[in-house]
């Protein structure tokens, strides 16, 4: 629809400043990263050298340990159901008004707005050998005070406090999304179900959950993308040691500690492609033409 008296040139002028910065710092990096993935980069001189697919071949070498990093990223996906169940549970608890409900919602959101690097410092203390968590578990009789578990240095254990930290950091965000979803559940359906003699559990199962389906799907996709992109949590908590390296943290380490920019770019490209595929999927389901905008039909 062309508006009278509004020239297309004006449109270009308005988007030009954004586009200039966007092109240099968002689009160019995406393209350059893909190009770099096929090259060797020499940091000292800034020269690049085409190497075919050598970076990708190197990623498959077992001693390079890209596989375990990718596996850790996949283990991180346990975060997805954890966040859905607890996020929805918390939203159900805080949905109906009671005194100070607003304050409690805000308090549950506090972890989301605190800098992750600063919050992680407390978690490192809490999970130290003589830390608060072991003291708590000893009180419950779950661990022995003489031989407490060293959470961050045991290789088959270290990833789980990291995932718990990610859970703690994001729970409030999903709570708010589910609270928004609960507001859109039609009241009449609940009232009709009450008249039919349905108890709370039946109403949750047959009224609330079906109505929440779009929100559940959105949250699941968001959490999936988030979990696959996780890197700051292990970086702050363990510096990626003790087998907590995720795929994206692997990219980071290869670039800034290994100084292998081309190799890092190749690993980064793989993660970008995975996110791209998930994004396409997300568009199909949630976009303007997506299924959910049309009542889940067609």
């Amino acid at each position: 629809m062309a508006l009278p008296g509004v020239r297309p040139a004006t449109g270009w002028l308005f988007v030009a400043p954004f586009c200039a910065v966007f092109a240099v710092f968002t689009l160019w990096p995406l393209g350059y990263n893909a190009w770099l993935a096929l090259h060797d980069y020499f940091l000292q001189t800034g020269h690049t050298q085409w190497n075919g697919f050598a970076n990708f071949v190197m990623l498959t070498w077992p001693e390079r340990e890209f596989g375990p990093a990718l596996k850790n990223s996949l283990i991180f996906l346990v975060l997805v159901p954890m966040l859905q169940i607890a996020g929805l549970g918390l939203a159900l608890l805080l949905h109906r008004p009671f005194p100070a409900v607003g304050l409690i919602r805000a308090l549950c959101y506090v972890p989301v707005i605190i800098a992750m690097s600063i919050a992680a410092v407390v978690w490192r203390q809490a999970f130290a050998a003589d830390g608060l968590v072991n003291s708590f578990l000893a009180t419950l009789g779950l661990v022995s005070p003489q031989d407490p578990p060293l959470w961050f240095s045991r290789e088959n254990l270290a990833l789980y406090p990291v995932i718990l930290f990610a859970f703690w950091k994001n729970l409030g965000f999903y709570m708010v999304l589910y609270l928004a979803g609960l507001q859109s559940v039609p009241r009449e359906q609940h009232e009709a179900a009450i008249l039919d003699g349905a108890n709370r559990l039946e109403r949750l199962r047959h009224v609330t959950l079906p109505a929440l389906q779009p929100v559940i799907l959105l949250c699941t996709l968001l959490a999936t993308i988030y979990a696959l992109k996780a890197m700051q949590e292990p970086l702050y908590l363990t510096r990626g040691s003790a087998h907590t390296t995720t795929a994206l943290l692997y990219v980071w380490n290869a670039a800034f500690y290994g100084h292998q920019f081309g190799y890092a770019a190749a690993a980064g490209l793989i993660i970008t492609v995975i996110c791209l595929l998930l994004a396409v999927f997300q568009f199909r389901l949630l976009g303007d033409q997506g299924r959910l905008r049309h009542g889940g039909e067609a």
Partner: protein, 283 residues
């Protein structure tokens, strides 16, 4: 009457369960901060590792909090964070407002393609862009500058998206009336459209400010000088480096650095907890 009577224990159980659940989640969300504050306020550290005594200050005093200001460059970090976060927010608004306006209300060739690109980049891991952006900043001579810290973040795809949504929702008649009166698009944008879209601009500003305030990765890559880094970087390095041996000082530093964030959140929390904002931030 009789039936209601028999329901009572069940109802009480549910109310109790609900409150227990709420309490449990709240404790889970807050225990690190309560612990940090409690340790920071204890002059006697003997209980700081013992559950549950660690959550109550033991022989309370302000000694550790005062030492924080003497031993950590907290005020320098705070100033840096304020500057970086404010300028980033200003930059995001200056670019996103006209861009969102044009995307929503002006028909020009390439509009759909640009909008598609913007949405697409919102879902890709920005962390992988750090390597090319680092190289770009070396070429532009922006290493260890605030310009290099701020400029790569101001073309916010989320910002353009949010402002487009806000402008799309405006009543067309009001805007067209101004146009008929001879206002240029630039005047329509700043005098009429933006004042109407102010809640969304405020939400965008709040979100951007918090994200910039909390950012660690990019400032850590681009800034070398200790006196230029923001709080999230400076505190983390101090606390995992030279101060990691004194847990009391560490907890005091955490407590002090979290207080301004909590104060800011208390003032702006309606933006964060409003469903429309989070829904849009999510997409």
């Amino acid at each position: 009457m009789n039936q209601r009577h028999s329901l009572r224990p069940v109802t009480w159980l549910m109310v109790g369960g609900r409150h227990a659940g709420i309490a449990l989640f709240t404790v889970f969300a807050l225990f690190p901060f309560v612990w940090a504050a409690s340790v920071a306020l204890s002059t006697d550290t003997s209980y700081m590792w013992v559950f549950p005594q660690a959550f109550i200050p033991h022989k309370p005093g302000l000694g550790w909090l005062i030492r924080v200001f003497h031993e950590i460059e907290l005020l320098v970090y705070l100033r840096n964070s304020l500057l970086i976060a404010s300028l980033t927010t200003l930059g995001v608004l200056l670019l996103a407002v006209p861009c969102g306006y044009a995307l929503a209300l002006i028909d020009f060739p390439g509009r759909q393609a640009l909008f598609g690109l913007i949405i697409l980049t919102m879902m890709l891991p920005t962390e992988t862009m750090i390597i090319p952006n680092f190289l770009t900043c070396i070429h532009l001579g922006l290493l260890d500058t605030w310009t290099g810290t701020i400029v790569p973040n101001i073309a916010s795809a989320l910002g353009a998206f949010m402002m487009r949504q806000a402008f799309t929702d405006l009543p067309r008649e009001t805007l067209d009336a101004a146009r008929v009166d001879g206002a240029s698009e630039w005047q329509v944008l700043w005098r009429i459209a933006l004042p109407l879209a102010l809640p969304m601009a405020g939400a965008l500003a709040t979100l951007t400010f918090v994200a910039a305030w909390n950012d660690y990765l990019w400032p850590q890559v681009i800034l070398n000088s200790q006196d230029k880094v923001p709080l999230a970087v400076g505190i983390f390095h101090d606390l995992t480096g030279e101060f990691s041996t004194s847990t009391s000082l560490l907890m005091a530093a955490i407590t002090v650095s979290v207080i301004p964030v909590l104060a800011g959140f208390a003032l702006t929390q309606r933006y964060f907890l409003s469903s429309t904002l989070v829904g849009r931030q999510a997409i």
